[in-house]
Subunit: 362 residues, 2 copies
């Protein structure tokens, strides 16, 4: 019995150690298995995506996210088939530290967009979610209303062992979502680590959510993020918080003026809102529309997307070159030996690099 159980890896079976009820309907089981095994071709998936079939879209994204090498060729075919129908959305990045109210903001903001006739896809980039089992968007119940809306598609962050891998999966998912007719892509990320840079490099508009805090608003903030922001929005500006939120808005406004002009020609704006009470949300969307008017008129919009493509091309090449080099057998040992020799004053970093590079033809 135990042996039999371990061979049952389907999710339809219970966890090992938990006894299986006898009353399973074997006919139903057979049907479910059969449907699951029904493995649509790449062409069928493309057709489904273009026909806005959510289930085809979801399956194709699962292919992209798969680490099974056998899936990657099929995923490439699907992406290629979707490419001519992509690139026609607005991509909005949203970041902020945990607790700032990102989920509530996206829920309220998303519903506003849908009321405006938009079809939205909500994705996430969170390289840590593979470990923490989905720290953002993982719990869809936090977006209860949005998840029930027909015109919204929500997908948690793919897991992955490198930010580059997670970012690639998300960028490819954007293509599929656009081909499926979603005209507004919202990409959420957490305000820690390098993931903002990745998200900033895949969106048209980058929005930083903040809370009004006690004391100096700028203390300890990662300046890199402020520099990337097209808008800083103080959330939870309701009740007694309104006054502090307005003060924080002023301070951020002053800070933004210290930064050099952006290549986009857009001066980053500040705003306050209460996502919970749906206050200030439509003003934020209007601001984004203003931004789009500006950058489409001065051609930054297209220029930026081309630059982003070149960035990801070179980024992928360079990440791969490094990964190929450092993953060579014995390389780590040799590297540590050289680092020790440098510490001991027996070699220089440059001579050590020359030596390590000479070890392998790669």
């Amino acid at each position: 019995m135990t042996k039999k159980k371990t061979s049952k890896t389907s999710a339809l079976h219970e966890q090992p150690g938990i006894s299986e009820p006898d009353a399973l309907n074997t006919d139903a089981l057979h049907n479910i298995k059969k449907r699951r095994q029904n493995n649509p071709t790449a062409e069928a998936l493309i057709e489904g995506i273009l026909a806005q079939d959510i289930s085809a879209l979801s399956r194709a994204i699962t292919l992209i996210e798969s680490t099974n090498p056998a899936h990657s060729e099929k995923a490439s075919t699907v992406i290629k088939g979707c490419l001519p129908h992509a690139n026609n959305s607005i991509r909005i990045g949203i970041t902020g530290v945990p607790g700032v109210g990102k989920s509530t903001f996206i829920e309220t903001f998303g519903k506003h967009l849908i009321d405006e006739g938009k079809q939205i896809a909500v994705l996430a980039v969170d390289p840590s979610s593979g470990l923490s089992k989905g720290s953002i968007l993982g719990d869809k119940t936090r977006m209860e209303d949005l998840v029930k809306t027909e015109n919204a598609f929500i997908r948690p962050s793919p897991s992955g062992d490198s930010l580059g891998g997670v970012a690639r999966k998300t960028r490819e998912t954007i293509i599929l979502c656009e081909a499926a007719g979603y005209d507004t892509i919202i990409i959420e990320t957490v305000g820690v680590g390098q993931s903002e840079i990745a998200v900033h490099s895949m969106v048209d508009f980058f929005l930083l959510l903040k809370l009004a805090g006690a004391g100096d608003e700028l203390q300890g903030i990662k300046r890199g993020i402020i520099e990337m922001a097209d808008a800083i929005v103080i959330n939870k500006a309701d009740g007694e918080n309104v006054k502090a939120a307005k003060a924080a808005k002023l301070e951020f406004n002053r800070a933004l003026h210290l930064y050099p002009e952006k290549a986009s020609g857009w001066s980053p704006k500040t705003a306050i809102c209460s996502a919970l009470k749906n206050e200030g949300i439509s003003e934020i969307y209007d601001m984004i529309l203003d931004y789009l008017d500006t950058v489409k008129a001065n051609n930054f919009f297209e220029h930026n997307r081309n630059e982003q493509n070149t960035f990801w091309l070179k980024q992928t090449i360079e990440e791969q070159l490094k990964s190929r080099f450092y993953n060579q057998p014995q390389l780590e040992d040799e590297l540590q030996k050289q680092i020790q020799l440098i510490k001991d004053g027996e070699t220089t970093p440059f001579a050590a690099a020359d030596y390590l590079l000479s070890l392998h033809s790669l």
Copy 2:
């Protein structure tokens, strides 16, 4: 006659097109040539450097700076021989935009150090100087007094086609200078481009020189540089400028407090000085001594040097990997083709990267 001239490539001969005087003393010419051809061995150079022979030091640095591949093995031997005698100096980086008075500051600061019994070497990192023929330290006459001092060694920025190459030559020159007994190494760089990051990664203390300007002191400044600075010094604080310099000092002080605490445990300081009138210079040196007390006590000094070594090791490896890849024959053509295909919506940056990486085994 014309034919004969073109074969004379020695600097002892005049430029082609300018007729050569008949009165050349052929004996003297022979002697000069003989001395020039006297090619000391690596061992002789090491011995000379350790004996504080300036001419041996200069010749060894010329070997390091040479682009002749035949010289690089000899240079490596000299560096290796000097290594056990290196690493025993204080390395100070000085940056600031052109016009801020770097040369005057280094002259006055350097003389103060020599009065304190120090032996100083002044180097520079300026990747642009290869083109502009030495925009910094190139004209030693700007440091008239220092250049005449026995305990000061001044060497302009090496030329090079990449910052990495220039930085490597400077780092290797530091080793030689330290082995020659210079206990304080000053490395100058200009406040533009990536060269500050390179210099910051090879010094113990990083000093940013500024001028008091009209209006907002922070406007347009590259924040990355402020973040790296251990001290911001407002120069030219004399006469009518003193008031503005004090105001600028205050403003920078306020700005510095917005930054997160440094790994060194040192809170960056601000100061004013007039290098021209030798005012405030000894206070700056005292500040650097304070810094050294702090970071030697908390072990950041050694930790930082180890980190810098690992940085240069990895930096060199990664630069080489990229350079090997992008310098492959035809790669640039293929890259441009892929970028066009991405623009045309025929491929993704990731598929293009995979393709380019598959083209070559390297």
